[in-house]
Symmetry: C2
Subunit: 301 residues, 2 copies
């Protein structure tokens, strides 16, 4: 993991989360898909963050991003409050219910890509409305790799725009349940075949505590999740996976998608070990490299 870092544009939500789980209640902690993905990638790539926050967004959070080398030129500060989500996890953390969603300034988010970001080589379109993801694509010049996440809300309410998006991206990274919903199939090869027929050359299916599957042409790679004794908070694990994955690829000279999946899995495994971004804000490149070695020990036969 050496060499010059490439530029990685991350677009998504920057939010406050109030999380109730087996460890207690965690009020208005920093969250959002772009937050997790940016932090996970920050030690690997030159991250350029695009998102929107309100006037209530604390300077110390912006400083934390900057301290991790993240370029916050694209973090728009709008009149109003920052996006706030409140939810409660089941005791085994396998499901969660939303208590309240206050979109606030996020309701009018129209991602504006600063001129200095438009040459980004790698683009991560975090889980926002597919219309907005398309709007980002219209503003970047000629990225080497575009990856997008999505969710059931957009499959249900914006399928047309989502399909247009899928025809324009290189990779889709998606939760297994939503991959099944979007494809109409259950078993992995059928799911991947149907999703790739919609456009993306590569599909990554995120399976939570069961790891991830990578599909590229006839090539399939199965990555486990890192086995843990306890999990503090699964919030942001999928976004951390995407950040670690793209961060790996954005390191100069790396094009091994399998290694990138493992790097993403390593980032996700750190993410869930603490509440919110607790484990990510101090994560080092060495931490990730050590965990990648542990993944090799876990899977070699």
């Amino acid at each position: 993991m050496k060499g010059a870092m490439s530029s990685l544009l991350v677009v998504g939500s920057v939010a406050f989360d109030t999380i109730h789980n087996h460890l207690g209640s965690h009020t208005r902690i920093l969250g959002g898909s772009a937050t997790y993905a940016s932090l996970a990638a920050s030690q690997l790539a030159s991250v350029r963050l695009v998102g929107i926050v309100g006037k209530d967004f604390p300077k110390k959070a912006v400083d934390m991003f900057r301290g991790r080398g993240i370029d916050t030129t694209g973090l728009e500060v709008a009149n109003g409050d920052t996006f706030h989500w409140e939810g409660r996890y089941s005791d085994d953390l396998t499901s969660r219910t939303t208590i309240q969603t206050d979109l606030n300034v996020f309701a009018d988010f129209e991602p504006k890509i600063p001129e200095s970001f438009r040459d980004s080589e790698f683009v991560m379109l975090g889980n926002i409305a597919p219309e907005l993801q398309l709007h980002v694509l219209d503003q970047v010049r000629s990225p080497r790799l575009v990856i997008a996440d999505t969710m059931n809300l957009w499959i249900d309410t914006a399928l047309g725009a989502l399909k247009e998006l899928l025809s324009r991206i290189d990779m889709l990274v998606i939760n297994e349940e939503e991959a099944r919903q979007l494809s109409g199939f259950h078993h992995p090869l059928a799911v991947a075949e149907a999703l790739r027929a919609l456009g993306p050359e590569t599909v990554i299916v995120k399976r939570g505590e069961y790891g991830a599957l990578l599909f590229l042409d006839e090539d399939i790679f199965c990555a486990p999740a890192y086995p843990l004794k306890t999990v503090a908070d699964p919030t942001g694990a999928g976004d951390s996976f995407a950040g670690g994955f793209l961060g790996y690829l954005a390191q100069a000279g790396h094009d091994d998608l399998r290694q990138a999946v493992i790097c993403g899995s390593a980032a996700a495994s750190f993410c869930v070990q603490d509440v919110g971004i607790g484990a990510l804000e101090n994560l080092s490149r060495e931490d990730i490299e050590q965990r990648i070695r542990e993944f090799r020990q876990l899977t070699t036969f």
Copy 2:
């Protein structure tokens, strides 16, 4: 995979299954834990089958076992009918409901280990009442390796006997949901630690379409399931896994548990591709070896 085969004693159910699934209804097809495990192991080890059937059990089924090199000396034929189970799978095959269970001769099963089987080096105690599994252990002399499966029924109704069994076996192979129930934990390391504290040095957690986890001391191995486009019938997959696993170890000179897990996963992947034992009754050692190579391609990074 060369060398003389060691003896593998398989004790469990031999049954007729009536299965309703997305492919239709399959009436009174050959099934049972000992059937699946024996067939999966039969090309790798010298399998000795112990079970009970009724007068209605067809000679051609016995001939099929023998044709696969399985010693049926221990297959008791009792007055009455063979154990019959009828169930219906959900369309995605992730759940099933029992329509009818006719224990028939299985209700009075007391496994009698033929004298010629008592020197068996490897013992698989399929999922039957733990009292009966203990009764088998009392009859074998000094096996090198004893592995047992169990289920929620015995956790609920025979926990004392199950705990005694766990203190006397080398390995527990158990479905993830039941592993969580028995251990009282959710996350894999906590589950394994609690189960190993009950006796077995090694624990294998079967995760269905997500593969298997092997725990031995501090060593953990994550094996994926073989990704498929369609699944015909998951019945017997866990027993095929155990058969392939022990069959691998029973091959002379093999003691690599990781390779054995992959061999079990290969056997299970064939099992689910056809209804009942359809894919197992003609499975060759070469088929398994080829699939093990595919598993390496699936997991290497």
